[in-house]
Amino acid sequence: MTAGKNILNPKLWVKTYADALFNFASIRVNDKEAAKDLVQETFLAALRNIDTFKGEISEKNWLYMILKNKIIDHYRKKASSLISQIESSSNENEYFDEENHWQQNKLPKEWRIDYNSTLDSNEFLEILQQCMKRLSELLNMVFSMKYLDEKESDEICKELKITASYYWVILHRSKLQLRDCIEKKWFIK
């Protein structure tokens, strides 16, 4: 036995990790086909780099590390083409009037919940996911990196090659849109 050393067993990768990696990817890219491809590419890249595995981390963590890099590559490829699209898509100005105060029909309403606790409701989580899917892909990327991977804003800017002020515009826009969507679907019935 090689004490403390982790070993790789590629024959069991699909059986052991495919679903977990697929979940991890699909929540981050919001596109099942793309998520599946990322998992597949991860396994293939792992095989190609099998000699670089030193056994210092577990097989599982090693595969996740490769997948995370694949996801960032995926984001980066998409980001450049999406930045031009977003200019023409939904805009924060639809929420505010000429004086930049709330539009009458967009005024936030009281949700009557405890805002400081997590809501243990599958229905809410489903609505949240639906509303996130409606965001443009770029908004979704920024969101996934920020909230799921808990990255700092400057790191996200660097990875997606966007400026800080653009980052804030994206975040502002997506939060306005998401809040509005959730309110319409969940709280006002």
């Binding site: 590629p10 024959k11 990768w13 699909v14 059986k15 495919a18 679903d19 697929f22 979940n23 699909s26 929540i27 099942k32 599946k36 998992v39 597949q40 396994f43 293939l44 095989l47 190609r48 099998i50 924060e92 929420y95 505010f96 004086e99 930049n100 105060h101 709330w102 005024l107 936030p108 309403k109 009281e110 949700w111 919940i113 805002y115 400081n116 997590t118 809501l119 809410f124 989580l125 949240l128 996911q129 996130m132 969101f143 909230y147 799921l148 808990e150 700092e152 804003s153 002020s165 804030w168 975040l171 502002h172 939060k175 306005l176 998401l178 809040r179 959730i182 309110e183």
Partner: protein, 85 residues
């Protein structure tokens, strides 16, 4: 978003509120946001709700699985790639 005036608009306040969540809001802007939130109940609601949404997103997880066929295809691909090495 820089503004020299003390009273900010709702558009600015919502932006500041998002920046504050990431601790990226300078002190002078934090004061302006604080004043705005004292007088604007809608931006107050927005702040509570967008923070709530952040909290929920962090708890998001999916339970989706690949089909057996998809897994079989993947398995074949890996085996044939492994044999080439």
């Amino acid at each position: 978003m820089k503004s020299s005036k003390l009273f900010i608009t709702c558009k600015e306040a919502t932006m500041f509120s998002i920046m504050k969540e990431e601790r990226s809001l300078p002190f002078s802007e934090r004061i302006k946001l604080f004043i705005h939130l004292m007088i604007c109940e809608f931006c107050r609601l927005f702040e509570r709700q967008h923070k709530f949404i952040s909290l929920q997103i962090k708890n998001l997880h999916t339970h989706e699985e690949l089909t057996d066929l998809e897994k079989d295809n993947m398995q074949h691909l890996i085996e044939s790639a492994a044999n080439k090495n």
